[in-house]
Assembly symmetry: C2
Homo-oligomer: 382 residues x 2
Amino acid sequence: MPESIPDDSIGLVKSSIFHFNEPLALASGLTLNEYELVYETYGKLNEARDNAVLVCHALSGTHHLAGYYSMDDRKPGWWENIVGPGKVIDTNRFYVVGVNNLGGCHGSTGPKSTNPATGKPYGPDFPIVTVTDWVTSQHRLSEKLGIKQWAAVVGGSLGGMQVLQWAIDYPDSLRHAIVIAAAPKLTAQNIAFNEVARQAIRTDPSFHDGHYYEHDTIPESGLRIARMLGHLTYMSDDIMAEKFGRALREGTINFDYGIEFQVESYLRYQADSFVGSFDANTYLLMTKALDYFDPAAAVAGDLTAVLAKVSADFFVLSFTSDWRFSPQRSHEIVRALHDNDLNVSYAEIESHHGHDAFLLSLPQYLSVFSAYMNRVAGECSK
Amino acid sequence: MPESIPDDSIGLVKSSIFHFNEPLALASGLTLNEYELVYETYGKLNEARDNAVLVCHALSGTHHLAGYYSMDDRKPGWWENIVGPGKVIDTNRFYVVGVNNLGGCHGSTGPKSTNPATGKPYGPDFPIVTVTDWVTSQHRLSEKLGIKQWAAVVGGSLGGMQVLQWAIDYPDSLRHAIVIAAAPKLTAQNIAFNEVARQAIRTDPSFHDGHYYEHDTIPESGLRIARMLGHLTYMSDDIMAEKFGRALREGTINFDYGIEFQVESYLRYQADSFVGSFDANTYLLMTKALDYFDPAAAVAGDLTAVLAKVSADFFVLSFTSDWRFSPQRSHEIVRALHDNDLNVSYAEIESHHGHDAFLLSLPQYLSVFSAYMNRVAGECSK
């Protein structure tokens, strides 16, 4: 392994693209006639084709779970600490698949892709997609990859919602469902935070009703606000106190509107790095998918009923200081699974890192997650 | 009392203005050479001049605590449920004073006032004022009103911070300090929410670096975002679940970016009513005053030490579901007061209304608050 890439990394990786010509009927009633999904795979699919693990991403995630694109690439995939040889999701044992969701901005068809009907970017004409739509498109991808049944489908946050939907929509297509830091639906407060972020983007004059590509601009201010606000809700009060407290950047109060407190500097930095890499229309879509997710809505809110046909074993994880999707929200899922006499493991990880904890290498988290993945691996053919 | 005004209201009221010619040296090092404070009074100052109660307002509050400005006025003062004849702060017993803070936008000198040096609105040239500056200016107002010692100084949220500062800066000028839903300083999370709101305003192209008055516009989008975000943090997850849950405005999902959930409708309504009545530069100033408030900073964060010369009796109130300034923040104040052997009463009100609870008529709140004010009134001369 070359010097610049750590030994325990999967190393150099590349993305692939599948083009789908079968029309996809969406939850909205609209149809996507054709689309592409970009994905990455790590490890080897065994002969029995039963060691595949699908990782679903959250709001700002991608298909790039692990590894590096080049020797000069400084930044590995977003779950590098979890996915790799000998890691929690062990690429020596599993064939791991990451896919960029439809509507995304990292290679799969989305608002910034060219609309074949007009020859211009879809922009706001890209249909609003839902968690169900994502799962349907991911299921088609698994068919293309020759995977009839996933050893596990795994995801955190919005990714965990996709896992839940997989278990509901394709009960025979996965043996284990691993739902991390998720919720069975958003609360009014969750929706409200999303709505403020959307309003920030949509009222930015550079948004041009979503047609900003054609104006050669982006709604940068709005996207910055959305990201800062989102980021705020991913952290706990405690971790912010520990990281920043009331520390001043220059040691003194300046009585102006520049950066005074370290926490302000951090938020602006987060915003800077986000606006360069994320599409505003995709951000809007993703928050809508979050708002709409409510699999039990079709059965009058009865989560137990909607899980009746589920057959996967579940591992549900939550983090004590996560106030975006608190442990109580995971308890709702666990209770409904228990009501259906399903095999459920549940771990509530002690952490002061807030919602972001699912991305971190907390020892207790890695330990229970590894133990569960060991069990999953043990059930796979050699 | 005329039909349109409830019997238990103080009734028709009017504001007064004091012009101050003595320069005011501010914490920032700048000086305001002259300024005006708008205020209202209710009830009668007794002969001993010892029955006066000062109410300090929070971020979006004003001097208009109670009563109506005309027979057609539909909206009473912001603390109408607390201030009035026979009410918690009983105008039959107390002489109650409300004052709009310096930097405000409801009559006291602030960013939208004319800068005598230029003949144009101050705009961004209005100096950033602090809680200490407000208390100094309020103290000058009390001298003008002939009040040497307040029976009580009362305030909620940012108002409560002013009460704490009064007790520190003018220990002989108040007998009771009533601090409601406040904190001895902001956390990093609190500051971060303020910063996101400020960025929303300051990056709105209509902000024009604060000179929007001259462009005959206002940074409406930014101010709307700031208000929606603020409002969100004033409510608890529980009360939002109870008020809105996931209720849809039209009963069905539309798959677009219009108003879908009731909570979105509510937030937009709150934003609409705010932008028409509040000045963006004042909003910025107020959030800065919140960020900067930290009376113990001068003594290495030792709240006990900074309260050493305080002599007022304290009544501290908090609300269980307030996550902006949680009961723990009030405990910090109470502990530091106890360390100084001061008389402290503390009430933690069971409520699911979040930070906003201090504005509401919750029975337990009204009851303990009334009992305390009775005690204060009993100590006043007839």
